[in-house]
């Protein structure tokens, strides 16, 4: 493979990492509070707002059931508004973030709902306010599960990021399609796939290691 091609692969890898990193960051910024809201706002929960819970749940489901490639095209005006352009790596961050938010919200919700109800009752019995319960009990107890959930999100985003090549986003997916498929360069395609496999493995391993460190439930050290 020529040095130019190798450099192209390196740049594409960096593009992918930037896209996935930024969309995971922004996705968490919005998705985490949304997930906490979904997990605590049904009737008789810490912040009961069943109507709002249902509406947010509906919007989240609707976004999640829209195929990603359609979402990318559908929100082009919004992308242009936020990123100033609708093509390129910067623009690709917008649909990736929009897709990540409801995904993160649901996995965070599941992680928080996994916290033993008895802990909430105990905290209430000690005079904790709902906000204190979220901060001191739910988030810290759910942290290992949230970490795994974010790892899962990152892996999904790696997959999605390959699709934004279709609308002019850069990254490994784009490289694979243009060089590997359209120019018929199987070695580029193979390299792209291998780099993606390595990235996914790396993210998964790192995420699991962090979650294990945070999880004090079964320590044998």
């Amino acid at each position: 493979m020529s040095p130019e091609l190798l450099q192209l692969i390196a740049w594409s890898t960096l593009d992918t990492l930037v896209m996935v990193g930024l969309s995971a960051l922004f996705g968490t910024l919005f998705g985490l509070p949304l997930g906490i809201f979904l997990a605590t706002s049904r009737a008789n929960e810490l912040f009961p707002a069943p109507a709002a819970n249902r509406i947010v749940g509906l919007v989240v489901n609707a976004t999640r059931s829209t195929p990603f490639i359609i979402l990318v095209v559908a929100i082009v005006p919004l992308t242009r508004l936020i990123a100033g352009t609708s093509i390129g790596t910067r623009a690709a961050v917008v649909p990736l973030t929009i897709a990540a938010i409801p995904f993160i919200a649901r996995v965070v919700e599941a992680a928080i709902r996994g916290v033993d109800q008895g802990l909430i009752e105990a905290a209430r019995a000690f005079g904790a306010s709902p906000l204190q319960i979220v901060q001191k009990v739910l988030l810290s107890e759910a942290m290992p599960a949230v970490t795994l959930a974010l790892t899962l999100t990152m892996v999904s985003l790696l997959g999605y990021s390959a699709m934004v090549g279709a609308v002019g986003g850069g990254g490994l997916g784009d490289l694979g399609i243009r060089y590997g498929y359209q120019r018929f360069m199987p070695e580029v395609m193979a390299t792209v796939v291998i780099v993606l496999i390595v990235l996914v493995q790396g993210v998964q391993t790192l995420g699991e290691a962090i979650a294990r460190r945070l999880d004090k439930r079964a320590r044998n050290s």
Partner: protein
């Protein structure tokens, strides 16, 4: 079973040891309804509860599952709200407080749980510190409060261990220390020993007794185990289908259970009820040569009298012991004996009279050959 002879009213028992202090918790006509929902009908969890908990006492509430114990104890710290009546804790009606007021009130009411409810992400020290953090105690002061508590429950060496590294008994000790962190006046115990083995249960119960004595802490606990009541409680209330069917000092209730539910609970701790082989042989009609079966409970002053030998001496009858048990309840001896005596009806009346004179409770169950 109907006694063939009229049996005198139950003998009096010892007055309670504790002087009657002013109540720190008082339930007045408390009811709790769970509204009908979807297909399920309205549920009456509690009905007409009147209960007073003297300051510094240990009060046990016993009942089967579904009797309303959990709801009852949660009314004290406002985790549940009554649908009628008043729940006064140190003179304040908990039911009338708003959320903010409740949070304040809860800091003077500690609580421990069946499944400990410790945060798995926090060490023993950090778990005990949690209520202090919640109450806004300065970080610098927290260690000065938590360390002595760890020492008191005997876990100073487990300070930095996570709950997963502790045994059940140790977890409950952390739970107790955590409940005491905000220096409460009342400790609520929700089946705190039900998940522990008998030996650990005894250790936790004696720790609770020590805390009660040393810190003058009032303890209210719920349980479905009579053995826990026997070891821990000064006073007991028996809850059945949302009502208190019997209450009094632990000794009184044990010595003279009146309600069916209470009798079953008392019977559950050996010696209180007739063994199956005896019940199988028992007849209600008297035939020549039959022995009359009497159930004698030795309570209070009667418990340290030589009743059986006096019976034999004074009336010249032979007493055959069929089944029996003597144990200590709330620090007093309590005996339950099943005996048979061969005698004529006239003499039997005298025997029963003699036993009653010794302050014992006698029930004539029937005859065996």
């Amino acid at each position: 079973m109907n006694a063939p002879f009229p049996v005198q009213p139950r003998a009096s028992v010892l007055p309670p040891n504790e002087p009657q202090a002013r109540p720190i918790i008082a339930f007045a006509g408390v009811g709790k309804l769970y509204a009908a929902r979807d297909n399920s009908a309205q549920v009456v969890a509690l009905d007409g509860i009147d209960l007073q908990v003297p300051e510094g006492s240990i009060v046990g509430i016993i009942g089967r599952s579904g009797a309303g114990k959990s709801t009852l104890i949660r009314l004290i710290n406002g985790l549940e709200r009554p649908t009628s009546g008043q729940v006064l804790v140190t003179g304040t009606d908990v039911a009338a407080l708003d959320e903010r007021g409740l949070r304040q009130a809860r800091r003077s009411i500690g609580m421990i749980f069946q499944h400990f409810n410790l945060l798995s992400s926090r060490t023993a020290f950090q778990n005990i510190a949690l209520p202090l953090e919640i109450a806004g105690v300065a970080k610098a002061e927290i260690a000065g409060i938590v360390e002595p508590l760890l020492a008191m429950v005997g876990l100073s060496d487990k300070r930095d261990r996570y709950p997963a590294e502790l045994s059940g008994g140790q977890k409950q000790r952390v739970g107790i220390a955590r409940a005491l962190a905000t220096k409460p006046k009342v400790l609520l115990s929700d089946e705190a020993t039900s998940a522990l083995d008998p030996e650990t249960t005894d250790q936790i119960l004696s720790l609770l007794k020590t805390i009660n004595a040393e810190l003058k802490l009032t303890i209210v606990f719920i349980t479905h185990e009579m053995s826990v009541v026997k070891k821990l409680a000064d006073q007991v209330a028996v809850l059945d289908h949302g009502r208190i069917v019997e209450q009094g000092t632990t000794y009184e209730v044990f010595a003279n259970p009146r309600h069916e539910t209470t009798k079953k609970f008392v019977g559950s701790i050996a010696g209180g009820s007739a063994p199956a082989w005896l019940l199988a042989k028992l007849r209600s009609d008297h035939r020549a040569g039959d022995g009359a079966v009497l159930h004698v409970t030795f309570a209070g002053r009667g418990a340290d009298q030589p009743v059986l030998s006096r019976l034999a001496r004074n009336l010249g009858v032979d007493v055959n012991i069929l089944h029996g048990q003597v144990e200590t309840i709330a620090g007093h001896p309590f005996g339950s004996l099943f005996i048979s005596v061969v005698s004529e009806p006239g003499v039997l009346r005298k025997i029963i009279g003699e036993l009653h004179a010794g302050q014992n409770n006698v029930e004539h169950l029937g005859y065996v050959s």
